[in-house]
Symmetry: C2
Subunit: 199 residues, 2 copies
């Protein structure tokens, strides 16, 4: 593969790798793997703390247009939703139907730009009620991606029962894991990632 | 240090770490060091390939405003200039006085937002004429930063004679080093970085 592949990782603090002492996060781990396999992709990490799908929708296109010029193998990986499910001031920060609408709109815009897309599920944190809401969103996102024929990596359920993920989130800030947890998440994404990159 | 430090690394492909198989670049290496020293900063890498100071000036503020909310220890690291010095269609892509004006304007805007700034010199590539132009820009940037009382890490000259940097750039794409070269650059920046972060 000698394509000039450029990938924007778009989303929230989990995309940014917050809490990871190695400064790689799951995205950096996958990019380093891919480099080791002989495919040196250009990666742009556009994860931002506290952002909901509504926040991401408002800024992602402008940021990606700066980074994905014509003539390259241009791709976008999306992951968001945990912050949508946060209970704040008596309601969730983003209603599930609005989260769904945001994802649908972003997938349509990416398709219009001929950008290949991979979507990664929002992960569980150390709060069961919050996770119940996120899991419901995960199911919606899976349906939306299936309808749009976009691959969706279902990482939420395996992370919910992963002892490393759960332990690191609990001893961390209650939401983000450390290096081992990000390694677990990267390993869960890897099969979808490889299949997607090979297309 | 328990401050909530958030740092945007703004600039070109060298900031993005293009060519580094570890996916860290110099920025990731410094962030990992700082984490190991007990200060887990949030880092946002906003380096973009091929961008000149004019390109960066057009997009950096919007991107940083998304990432540097009020109430945090908000910081920006700038590094650009190599693409300004590229000879294209019978002239440099950005005239030196315009590069100077761009840096001056960005420093003023950052100061107006109370964002602490560190500037890193544009590095040498495998092209002596290009490097002569970049070195002239480096001298201008140093003067501008001194006048603005912003620290400026003078990495251009030591990299010009560094055998690891020169070798990796030459065997790479002619501009970017590999992992060892980014390690050399991170080591050159480290003293300025530590001093700057401690303030």
């Amino acid at each position: 593969m000698s394509r000039d592949t450029r990938i924007c990782f778009v989303g929230d603090s989990f995309v940014a790798g917050v809490g990871d002492p190695t400064a790689l996060g799951w995205a950096g781990r996958l990019v380093a793997d891919t480099h080791a396999e002989g495919h040196p992709v250009t990666a742009y990490n556009l994860g931002v703390r506290r952002q909901t799908s509504t926040d991401v929708r408002a800024r992602w296109l402008g940021e990606c247009l700066q980074r994905l010029p014509d003539g390259v193998d241009a791709r976008v990986v999306f992951s968001f939703g945990v912050n949508d499910s946060t209970w704040e001031d008596g309601r969730v920060r983003v209603a599930p139907e609005d989260s769904a609408d945001n994802l649908t709109a972003m997938l349509a815009t990416a398709a219009a730009h001929d950008w290949r897309v991979l979507v990664i599920a929002p992960p569980p944190i150390d709060d069961d009620e919050h996770n119940t809401r996120t899991a419901a969103l995960d199911a919606r996102f899976a349906d939306i991606c299936a309808a749009a024929e976009v691959p969706y990596a279902r990482t939420h359920q395996p992370l919910s029962t992963d002892p490393t993920w759960r332990h690191e989130v609990r001893i961390g800030d209650g939401a983000h894991p450390g290096a081992a947890g990000y390694g677990v998440l990267a390993a869960l994404i890897r099969p979808s990632w490889r299949e997607w990159l090979s297309r």
